[in-house]
Symmetry: C3
Subunit: 426 residues, 3 copies
């Protein structure tokens, strides 16, 4: 066991370097122009235009999702740290897999759009990671990264190139996919020993505040996520505006429903941290369409309602009846809102000038995303269930100290800053 | 009481959706070009140029101000959470109110500039929120958001269209306005039961570090705030440079004065967290003018001095003599530096090629901003004083657990991470 | 002592204002075009193109490095607060010193590139600050800022203008320089009283999570750091891609080696927080060259290995044998990876179409960076050793309360949130 993790990690990195050596080259200026959908010639600095959007997505992946996962009282190191590990591997592997598929085996010219797509592909794994947070080993997560991104890239190719469906903000291909993949894995990895919960599976005051760092960066930059790969011009603009409005509406509704469902009208931090983001998920598929601002706000509102109800009623139901323990409640933040997004996309396409074939293709995209996710997740779960990956025992779940050197003492000794005045010398 | 908050929040969101349905449409390419003050034809992706500035402002509103308000030891959830609630409502309402005023009742074409203005309008409420932090209910804050943004938009229209005054970085229309509005509300809501302070009205070590997240994002992105709506080209460039330099100078002076005024020459976190930002406030009005770099630095220095003195001497004076309890000291961060900014604007205009009429108009803008704020704040305070909004009792002030489900246990149990070594199975 | 810090700080700010009055003016449009290396005429808003890159660097300096330094359990205020103080002084002084050198005494026209260079110059000091963190007074840091940036600017001038060496991401001129300067200072300021360590020189659980905020913003925005002053077009693009890939590879290798070297295969937060960034440092010098993606990844991998080994073996060796106490381990994050970067630059230039002269110049640049740093650091150390700067006693090291008003009580009293349910009135 001692050398399993380092050898797997090193081996994967060596593999990535070899694959990059074989398949990846720099972008040339000509390619950049084509890639950005720019028809008329323009100046060479043009790729800088998308770079701020890429950086927003980059912050979402590493800071946003990373800190959202720090909420458990003894599992913050793993939350933010394994997130970094997964994402760093995922973006390399995602570049290769997506690049090979979309370039039909030709050389991949890595540009800003590839980097955005690579970051996107990591998001699917990070979503799934949320379902099994605290119950898996780093080696398991490396394996899941490799398998899930491969499956994701195939489904995304199907949706994009075969069905030619719209999914700009990736409600279906990332959010629904990542959620149902993760739920399938969590189902296979079900631990009956945790069916009554675990004393470590709770937050403390400050870990919830740390998680809000993640929430707010995700919330703020979500318009960039949904617009980063949209067609330049009006579509990209609409993707920004629709997401901005959907999220704003989602916040008010989330607060309202949370207060409505909780005892004595109080707000639940679990809802606020998560469900306020559901509006960004749900508006993704039709973000670049002319759905009108008020429709974005309605989609955001519905997403908030669905998400809070999910946290309140579905997560306990899943854990007890379906034997799926979903640590972060990804079904409520990504699964259901992703399905809402897929359905909204079908409806939006239907109300546009499209014919029923287009609607059917959107529906096929949604079905394919959920279907491949479930199959891929089941297979991955079976691989991860093999008892050789250094899984934590039930008792040691949700505890950093299995995989990390952790400061031994609790936060402060009782005399912290309680001594007399200190003074500079002299 | 149980249903008051959810019903108000839901009702407001429904209202917003209806208003957007009636008044708001997407921007068209032609409108975008006009809105960005671009005279010659250009490519369609141009609105992306302002988008990074918008995102900086967006981060300031949600992460910056949000985390600045987490400093109270038991009120961090509300600090960052109610900030999010106010801002999400405010940006929708601000889009409507400002849009209707500036488009003279015509359809509002929502573009990046509208989004920046909408975010700006929320800042006034978030500033005022700082004065009453810990002593009000979520319902009260929703009401304040609606009233304050309406008054703000009227004053901003007055300053902009009637007085035609300069106020690029909004020292007067946002900072002074938000501060005096909030102080008026706090004055009306005075609680004699808290005149000797409250045991919860203090920070702990880590809550101060959380607040520094807010400070640093505000400090870093303030050049974007002051330049986001400046005229493209030289003016926008100067707004960035002047703000950058004013803030840098403000930091050194703040540290110096804090050490000078505190016992034994120590630094006060209250000063460092807040007064270092005063340079951004005070340079706002004349940020885009040719005041020369050294003048920006002088304005920043003066703002730092004024702000630290305010925290040290004025806030206690306000609380005891004027019966205005200003939780975050917004008068010192936004009020006084905003007035400094307004005065600097008058002086800068006077030293330019302008005549006395222009100076008078700047002075009128300052007067109008403070005047409408005080009147609006008094009226709002009277509305909020009606004892039906679920206000916390004096005893329960500055405590999240009135409105939030809060982890019951304190941060860590005494055996935290103190058990023997944990190991992965197998 | 009481007035030393405020007077030094105020005096320095007055000096800066005078110097800006004498030497600095606004950029004009014509200058901006030249500065951005744009050959053909373009529109006036063009400087906005570099502004997002500047803002990324700005966040790295103030949030990134600031929070990376909050890891000590009782020294978070100083970590993030003195970082802000140094950087605010440094960017003003850096503008002057670099501007005077590069404009040959002519007026400095401050533009976005100056602001990026000014932020860069502060980074050298902030790196050196890491070596002496917890053992120095604010006055000492102000002095170090002034001296170090002057020496840095001279070396940078030498490297840039005389040797004409490549160092886009500043592996040599910033990272190696800042590290060896800091180590020299730390060597002179060696405290034998701390040779067995200090009870405060450790992190607690949450302070490590705070530090991860810094790590992640540095990691995310490092491609902007390495590309911000690259030549527009292909070089800037390559600087972004190479850094992005180097960092990703570095993460996997860092995790692997950390697990390999630690007891029982666990991960060390010290390694994860720091060594994951070494890939950004090491790829700096040749970031804009056509080294091919896989080479970036190899450089990142080597940097990760070197850095983790450094933390594990060199830092203790330095402290005990060389009498250099390096608080943050800057030698492992900036020193060694900076040297790796310099060597990679020599190799990359050698493999290109360059002759041996170019390689020699690269080598000269590396030698000059380390040499001037050591000499400058030794002299600075001797100045700082004079016992009049309010140094903390050995006992009071790593403790904020020497220079800050700190909340007296520990994080939470034992009854925190443990009372009965609170309710809104009415």
């Amino acid at each position: 066991m001692r050398f399993k993790f380092p050898l797997v990690a090193l081996g994967l990195e060596v593999g990535m370097i070899v694959l990059f050596g074989l398949f990846v080259q720099y972008e040339t200026e000509q390619n950049t122009l084509q890639q950005l959908n720019i028809t008329k010639p323009t100046d060479t600095g043009r790729f800088l235009e998308l770079y701020p959007l890429f950086q927003d997505v980059h912050v979402m992946v590493f800071v946003g999702i990373g800190f959202l996962m720090t909420f458990l009282k003894k599992y913050s190191f793993s939350g933010v740290g394994i997130n970094l590990l997964i994402a760093a591997l995922g973006l390399q592997w995602g570049t290769i897999v997506q690049g090979v598929l979309h370039s039909y085996g030709q050389t991949i010219h890595i540009g800003v759009e590839n980097m955005i797509h690579a970051d996107f592909s990591t998001v699917t794994v990070l979503i799934s990671f949320g379902a099994v947070l605290g119950k898996t080993s780093p080696v398991q997560m490396l394996i899941m990264t490799i398998v899930e991104i491969a499956v994701f890239a195939c489904n995304e190719y199907l949706v994009d190139e075969i069905f030619q469906a719209s999914d700009t903000g990736a409600s279906m291909t990332i959010h629904a996919f990542g959620a149902y993949f993760g739920l399938a894995v969590a189902g296979i990895l079900y631990r009956s020993g945790l069916r009554k919960g675990h004393q470590n599976q709770e937050s403390v005051y400050h870990s919830d505040v740390f998680a809000m760092i993640g929430t707010l960066f995700l919330w703020t930059f979500w318009p960039s996520f949904n617009s980063a790969i949209a067609e330049a011009g009006d579509k990209q603009y609409r993707a920004i505006v629709n997401t901005y409005l959907s999220l704003a509406a989602c916040v008010l509704v989330t607060y309202a429903i949370s207060s409505l469902l909780e005892k004595r009208g109080k707000l639940s931090m679990v809802h606020i941290k998560n469900a306020t983001l559901a509006g960004g998920v749900a508006v993704g598929t039709c973000a670049d369409m002319e759905i009108q601002p008020q429709s974005s706000m309605m989609i955001g509102s519905i997403a908030g309602i669905v998400s809070v109800f999910g946290y309140k009623f579905l997560t306990p139901f899943f854990a007890t009846k379906l034997r799926i323990q979903d640590t972060c409640g990804i079904h409520n933040l990504h699964g259901l809102p992703g399905v809402v997004g897929g359905l909204a996309g079908i409806a939006a396409v239907g109300m546009g000038m499209s014919n029923t074939t287009t609607m059917a293709m959107q529906a096929a995209a949604l079905g394919s995303s959920i279907g491949t996710a479930l199959v891929g997740g089941l297979i991955t779960g079976l691989i991860l269930k093999i008892p050789i990956w250094g899984q934590p025992s039930d008792e040691n779940c949700y505890d950093d100290s299995v995989y990390w050197e952790v400061p031994k003492k609790r936060d402060y000794d009782s005399h912290f800053h309680d001594h007399g005045e200190l003074n500079p010398e002299v």
